[in-house]
């Protein structure tokens, strides 16, 4: 058995070199042909071959007696040089190569007999633009068909209520709803303070201090509180849905569910969606209260409008319709967030990077769609004169 026995790291001989030999029909290789100096070796070969006048036919000898070390990269360079020289009727033969090096060279020659596949050329600007647009369209269609599939699964679950996973719904209510109370409450309280503070200056100037209740009440209850709650929940829970389902796809857990006969939609999507549709209106109600509370604190500090006066005015300022419009948007936002989060999770294709990518997309898309839906609601309500 031939085993090169010199530890390669210990070799401190001359670097690899190649030069023309005594006759026009031979070349001489020497030194250590190793990976660490492969770049220099490649340059040496190129320089030598440029200067070398290649015979048209017959045998070209390469004396490799002085090659002291050879690893796969060095063997590859030798092999590549041989292929470059073997054009036309010329053949190349190595002489004096150590048997173990010969074996390595043979191994490489046999393993690389198949031509390497050239990498595809990078697509141009137009092609990229086209493929992005096409992907966008497919993604929109995919989301739509996912909505359809989820609705069908929901219908099936309603017909057979035993299929509904109550424990999972309760768990999701806990994580997406109750656990979001501190952050949504704090942020809407601060938002109420900011709005009251900005409004106070203007209202004081015209002596309309009491209208602070209208300003804070209407803007919070009708627009801002549903929106800020939906955005926070999209960032908190929508991303978690995408990451969870995406990781389950990478580890083939989703396929396992299918094999066992559990619909991934039934187990992974419906509980999340049902829980969020329940939790988001409740959270919105809570943020309504916290936002108005923030406005009240600021109104008393800046405009001398007491709590009782504020609440009396709030009663007139915010109609039941406005309140219901605010709360009524929340279930729609909830469906958007759950749908986009889960859909992007299912779009993960097996790599760790794609989990991150789809999670990012889920947050961006769900916030975008929430704001878009809010704008559409505004247009619709103004038509309806609500």
């Amino acid at each position: 058995m031939n085993v090169p026995t010199t530890p390669r790291h210990a070799i401190t001989q001359a670097a690899a070199d190649i030069r023309p030999g005594a006759t026009p029909r031979d070349l001489r290789c020497e030194g250590a042909w190793l990976l660490r100096s492969a770049a220099q070796t490649e340059a040496r070969i190129e320089a030598c071959l440029r200067a070398f006048k290649q015979p048209v036919e017959g045998e070209l000898l390469i004396d490799a007696q002085a090659v002291t070390a050879l690893d796969t990269s060095g063997a590859w360079l030798l092999h590549r040089m041989r292929r470059a020289l073997e054009t036309g009727k010329c053949t190349v033969r190595f002489t004096g190569l150590r048997p173990e090096f010969e074996a390595l060279l043979r191994l490489i020659a046999t393993r690389t007999a198949q031509p390497a596949v050239a990498p595809l050329p990078a697509p141009g600007v137009l092609a990229r633009f086209g493929s992005n647009a096409w992907e966008g369209l497919l993604s929109a269609l995919g989301l739509l068909s996912f909505l359809g599939a989820s609705a069908t699964a929901l219908m099936r679950a309603l017909v057979q209520p035993r299929r509904i996973r109550w424990r999972s719904i309760l768990y999701n209510l806990q994580t997406a709803g109750a656990a979001a109370l501190p952050i949504t409450g704090l942020l809407s309280f601060l938002l109420g303070i900011v709005i009251a503070y900005q409004g106070a200056e203007q209202l004081r100037r015209v002596g309309a201090n009491i209208y602070i209740a209208d300003l804070v009440g209407l803007s919070m209850v009708r627009e801002l509180s549903p929106l800020i709650t939906a955005i926070i929940v999209a960032g908190r829970s929508g991303s978690a849905y995408a990451a969870q389902i995406g990781t389950m796809k990478v580890t083939e857990e989703v396929d396992a569910l299918r094999t066992i006969g559990i619909g991934p939609l039934d187990l992974l999507v419906l509980p999340k969606m049902i829980a969020l549709v329940i939790a988001l209106p409740l959270l919105t109600l809570y943020t309504d209260i916290m936002g108005v509370l923030g406005g009240m604190v600021m109104a008393r500090a800046q405009l001398d409008v007491g709590f009782t006066t504020f609440i009396d005015r709030l009663d007139d300022a915010v109609s039941l319709t406005s309140f219901l419009i605010g709360i009524g948007k929340a279930p729609v936002f909830a469906v958007i967030i759950a749908l986009v989060g889960c859909y992007q999770g299912f779009q993960v294709n097996g790599s760790a990077e794609s989990v991150g990518h789809q999670t990012t997309r889920s947050v961006v898309q769900s916030i975008f769609l929430v704001i878009l839906a809010d704008a559409l609601f505004s247009i619709a309500f103004s038509w309806l004169k609500l």
Binding site: A39, T112, S351
Partner: protein, 267 residues
Amino acid sequence: MNTAASHAETPDDVIEIRDLNTRFGAAVVHRDVSLSVRRGEIFALVGGSGCGKSTMLREIIMLQAPVSGSIRVFGQEVVGLSDEQALPLRRRWGMMFERGALFSSLTVTENVVMVLREHTRLDAALANEIAALKIALTGLPPDAGSKYPSELSGGMRKRAALARALALDPELLFLDEPTAGLDPLSAAGIDELVRQLRDALGITIMMVTHDLDLLWRAADRVAVLGEERILGNGTMQELAQSEHPVIREYFYGPRGRGAREQAWNRK
């Protein structure tokens, strides 16, 4: 085949483990284990599931630290080595993980090129060529290089992982279950490949395996790990004659007998 004789000029042990002790909490994994791997041999570590084979491998490549004992690789103590001190050692060995551990966001070629470019100053074209060569060496078709790991079958993923482990022309190659999860044909291809690599490149190979066929076909020396220590250590022929009940069970169980008979028939 007599491996030891052909290495008479460099008798040094590539890996030398002395009195290794490993515990996870109260559970003892290794108790005063000693063994050595010689240059240029294909050494296999076998044993039942959970006997600490992979743990030992992880301790040698410094992914885990033993409680006490000494592990010398290329004559250098690796226990307690800092990352900086370990770098020159890490460049001299390659590791193929059981499930490949390929970087999922890179193509197979990029997985290999990444290692090459991290440690050498090759230009992109040459690095790509060398990566293609390593991929071809492991028996993958040329178009596999542009694929992502998730697009490959289990066997192809193993080969791709091997290509990455071979990127720097390591002197020492660690294989964790190289044939686990492969069909018999792919597994036979791996046997062949392991031998060819050792013969052509002079690599020392240390592998952890359950595969008796691979042991009979490729391993020069085998150590059986069990009951927290080395139960037997020698060539497959020697171990097949061992009296130890665990080893006998291992080699003369229903599957062991088949592999052994096959190996005899081939000879």
